[in-house]
């Protein structure tokens, strides 16, 4: 799939996500809009996965460690055919499979349950190690939030991955500079992230996390450096694509009112490639 088509899908995902947040009256719109391009590229260009056989042993693995943005993953999984598209309408409804954080026992395509931040990367290290033990070629991708990188468990896993030479593991940090209640810079600043990961023995690359060409290029298997886990610091904007949400900490989990919803939807439609 070419990057134009990927942008078309990402735009559709953003709109469906926004609609679901509006209708459910809850969600994490800011972080969903910032991670959408990354998820779209992974599922429609980079990863080898089969919706008809979601547990195929040789599949590539994706762990959305910033599990509060599950809705973006649900919409991408629906686009890809893992779950019915109309099931998105049940998001957060009583007894729906689609609760606020992804659940592997309920939702095909989800690899591990996340929600408490700082769980995905250690699990990803285990997955990548299993692939090495199996002499298998599948890759493991983990997406964390940048605020999430404040959890110490991530740094324990970062050390393990380097020690274990997990070049089949890719950590993508959704670096939107905002956490729940404030900017990272005003809370517990981690920037610059790249030299920290490099100091821990990782191969690090920085990209514009909304530029589909850059995302696809950096995630290509040809970019793997033998013996080193890869970290991609994806510079993104929380709320990307909606002018009044973008880079605005108020939109971590705020729900748009009708007027805001209509404006946001109009902006997204106008931006459709």
């Amino acid at each position: 799939m070419n990057t134009h088509d990927l942008r078309v899908i990402a735009n559709r995902v953003r709109r469906r996500d926004l609609q679901a947040v509006f209708e459910a009256g809850a969600g994490h719109i800011g972080g969903e809009l910032s991670v959408t391009d990354l998820l779209t590229a992974l599922y429609f260009k980079i990863m080898s996965v089969d919706p008809a056989n979601p547990r195929a042993p040789e599949r590539d693995r994706l762990v959305l460690s910033k599990g509060h943005t599950a809705l973006a993953l649900y919409v991408v999984l629906a686009e890809k055919g893992f779950i019915p598209k109309d099931e998105i309408a049940t998001f957060l409804k009583p007894h729906s499979r689609l609760n606020g954080h992804p659940n592997r026992t309920k939702v095909p395509g989800v690899e591990t349950n996340t929600g408490p931040l700082g769980h995905g990367l250690p699990v990803g290290v285990g997955m990548a190690t299993a692939a090495k033990l199996n002499r298998a070629n599948w890759r493991t991708f983990v997406i964390t939030g940048d605020g999430e990188m404040q959890e110490g468990s991530n740094w324990e896993a970062i050390m393990s991955a380097a020690q274990l030479k997990l070049d089949n593991l890719t950590l993508i940090i959704d670096h939107n500079r905002l956490q729940q209640g404030a900017r990272l810079a005003d809370t517990n600043d981690l920037a610059p992230l790249a030299p920290k990961l490099a100091a821990f023995g990782w191969d690090v690359q920085e990209i514009d996390g909304h530029n589909m060409d850059q995302i696809c290029a950096v995630l290509d298997a040809g970019q793997i450096v033998t013996g080193k886990p890869k970290c991609i610091v994806a510079h993104t904007n929380k709320g990307h694509g909606v002018s009044f949400m973008s880079d605005n900490v108020a939109w971590h989990h705020k729900v748009p009112n009708e007027e805001q919803y209509n404006q946001a939807m109009t902006e997204l439609k106008e931006a459709a490639p």
């Binding site: 957060l92 606020g100 954080h101 605020g147 999430e148 729940q180 209640g181």
Partner: protein
């Protein structure tokens, strides 16, 4: 929930918590707050604006947060360590054990939005194991207030108490159950309603539901005592022994798994201390990860609507001799 109260009379107990904390903070400069990127969800913006230096937001790092709290206590501060209850207790349990309970530090652990409060967000965000986890530790009283008045009283008590404690708060609206001048006493249950046929023992958001269930039972000629048991440890043995002797049957209600929480603590007393055992029923989350739904929806689902509680009482009374 089959007994709605006017929304205006339902209170989010976090408001009473922070109002009291801000008052105490104005009178005592040693009071500090520690949080994990939870200024909003712990409602600490007012405290931060009044005492900017005394709000320590460590970021999304709960183990660090509890350790920092213990260090602050070592330095003579009175830290209120505030975080969503599942992450405070689940993520930092060993810090709570070693740095607070075992080291006997003066750390006030405030679990926000406990129980099923995060409803639709799913089981990772439900804190329905915290009574069991923390009550297994020595030296850390476990307390779940039932309304805004008891919440304020508990916070005031905690600030004056020399030692660590776990205060389990909700965000789910509850009406007033106590009179304004209520004072909290550690390990002392309160009779919210007198009764002679059965005792309902509850705390947190379930006390109000238990009171409503008692009304329903009253209409059927069943006289239910309601005991508000905010302190889960140290538990009020005397109140439980009297309830067993005087009413002959006990139903416990909690926003917690039935494994190891309030019901278990009450059952332990009934087994160990009552000369004659009495029939008991423990209502709570029945040892499963909850499906998707709001807190109130899930409580109803798990048989803790007022009608559900009343029905459990009626069933239990068939076993009463």
């Amino acid at each position: 929930m089959n007994a709605p109260v006017e929304p205006a009379k339902m209170h989010d107990c976090r408001d009473a918590f922070v109002a009291t904390l801000e008052q105490l903070g104005a009178a005592n400069a040693d009071i500090v707050a520690v949080c994990n990127d939870s200024v909003g969800s712990s409602k600490l913006a007012g405290f931060r604006d009044k005492f900017p230096e005394r709000l320590i937001n460590v970021g999304i790092a709960e183990q660090n947060m509890v350790g920092v709290g213990a260090g602050l206590a070592n330095g003579g501060k009175i830290p209120f360590v505030c975080a969503a209850a599942p992450f405070l207790t689940g993520r930092a349990l060993e810090q709570i054990k070693a740095d607070v309970a075992y080291s006997e530090t003066n750390v006030k652990l405030v679990g926000i939005s406990s129980g099923l409060a995060y409803g639709e967000l799913g089981a990772t965000h439900h804190s329905i194991e915290d009574f069991a986890w923390i009550r297994a530790l020595p030296n850390v009283p476990v307390i779940a207030p039932a309304d805004r008045i008891e919440t304020a009283a508990v916070i005031e008590w905690a600030a004056g108490f020399e030692g660590g404690c776990f205060l389990r708060l909700s965000r789910v609206g509850v009406p007033d159950l106590f009179a304004e001048n209520h004072r909290f006493e550690l390990g002392r249950a309160n009779v919210l309603r007198k009764g002679s046929d059965v005792t309902l023992i509850a705390n947190g958001t379930l006390s109000y539901r238990a009171m409503t269930a008692a009304d329903l039972l009253d209409a059927k000629g069943i006289s239910a005592r309601v005991l508000n048991m905010a302190t889960v440890r140290p538990i009020d043995t005397e109140a439980i022994v009297s309830a067993a002797a005087e009413t002959g049957a006990i139903v416990t209600c909690e926003e917690h798994t039935v494994f190891g929480g309030l019901g278990s603590a009450v059952a332990e007393v009934v087994v160990d201390e009552c000369p004659v055992p009495v029939p008991m029923k423990r209502l709570g989350v029945p040892g499963v990860f909850a499906p998707t739904g709001s807190a109130n929806f899930l409580l109803d689902e798990f048989g803790m609507s007022p009608q559900g509680i009343a029905d459990s009482v009626t069933d239990l009374l068939k076993r009463k001799r």
